[in-house]
Symmetry: C2
Subunit: 212 residues, 2 copies
């Protein structure tokens, strides 16, 4: 997606997509963003990060959906309706939030690769359509093999520099004011939540036209 041009009307601004595999509303955006961005001619810049440390920095030792029962109860009902609206499969996961460290490290390695979108969608479906562990090596290997990702990628995900990069990217999220996921940036303009995906894409497309 990184070489998409907007038909001679100038280079569109990219949309930075900050997401977490544990996050329910990130599931909606991961499933929708590549198609939606392509319709707007906007490149997607994938930014996996860890939501846990961000919540911790804000004084929460778990997801607000776990800490606030009312909000959590509502979120499950809302997710079911949103999935049905967008035609996405949905099974409420038996573990929430699920640790997705291995999947996130792999996503860091894939962020600029052609397999990134498909990889993220498979991981999300594992969590939210099949209720399966996303921190499991065998499951990740299965997805990577299926997508023809070069052997050795799984092993590289455990390298110290990759682990450090995920921590750095998480710190960057905090510095830029991210407080939940998904969050989108177009330049310095921030959009929070799957509900703002379309607004963010329109903003990016317009910014690209103005810059032409």
């Amino acid at each position: 997606m990184n070489d998409v041009s907007s038909g001679g009307r100038g280079t569109p601004a990219g949309i930075e997509f900050w997401f977490e595999f544990a996050s329910t509303y990130s599931y909606l955006s991961v499933m929708r963003i590549e198609d939606a961005a392509q319709r707007h001619g906007v490149p997607v810049i994938w930014k996996p990060f860890l939501l846990g440390p961000v919540f911790k920095a804000l004084g929460m030792d778990n997801s607000p959906f776990v800490l606030q029962k009312e909000k959590g109860d509502y979120m499950w009902r809302d997710m079911s309706r949103q999935c049905s609206k967008h035609g996405l499969p949905w099974v409420r996961p038996s573990v929430f939030p699920r640790v997705g460290l291995l999947a996130l490290r792999l996503a860091l390695l894939g962020a600029e690769e052609a397999w990134m979108g498909a990889f993220c969608r498979r991981v999300m479906q594992l969590n939210f359509a099949q209720d399966r562990d996303i921190n499991d090596e065998a499951a990740m290997r299965g997805i990577l093999d299926e997508l023809g990702v070069p052997a050795g990628t799984l092993a590289r995900a455990a390298d110290a520099p990759v682990k450090a990069r995920l921590r750095e990217q998480t710190d960057e999220a905090r510095r830029r004011g991210v407080f939940g996921a998904p969050t989108f940036f177009v330049g310095t303009e921030m959009f929070w939540g799957d509900d703002r995906l379309d607004d963010a894409l329109r903003f990016a497309a317009a910014a690209g036209r103005e810059g032409a």
Copy 2:
């Protein structure tokens, strides 16, 4: 709006609209709901309530937008964009959240009156377009007079039973799992946030057709 029918396809389910004059996202819904509901042939059931006691019951001694700086900063930027998207005037209020006790009590008295929608819109514009006090008797009298509301209504708002009714309605919100505003109910189905207004209306319209 209470006698709207859906063109012979059965009586549409009403949409309960739980809102607070202090709430920024309630501003968006108050300004939009009557027109939008009419397009769907759905009656609006107005449910003013106090957000403060609801937040308190959830362990927060102020709005989450005040308690969480990052979320608050984002909300102001988002509100400005949302108002521009919906063609609504917007001035960030110098006091937030504004006490709207008098306005809420008047809204209780007006909930089933023809002047309700216009009254609520004027109060919201006072707060979010003119940055003015909404707990002020003179300001409320000005709005009521302009709308031709019977004299004596302002005085009635201070009656003990009206005060008690607002507390009861607030308790009802808590019992039903409300954790923020605006919140919509169609029967027992709950929708949170201005972003779900259209979904809630579609749900209400469909429920009406199914019940035909």
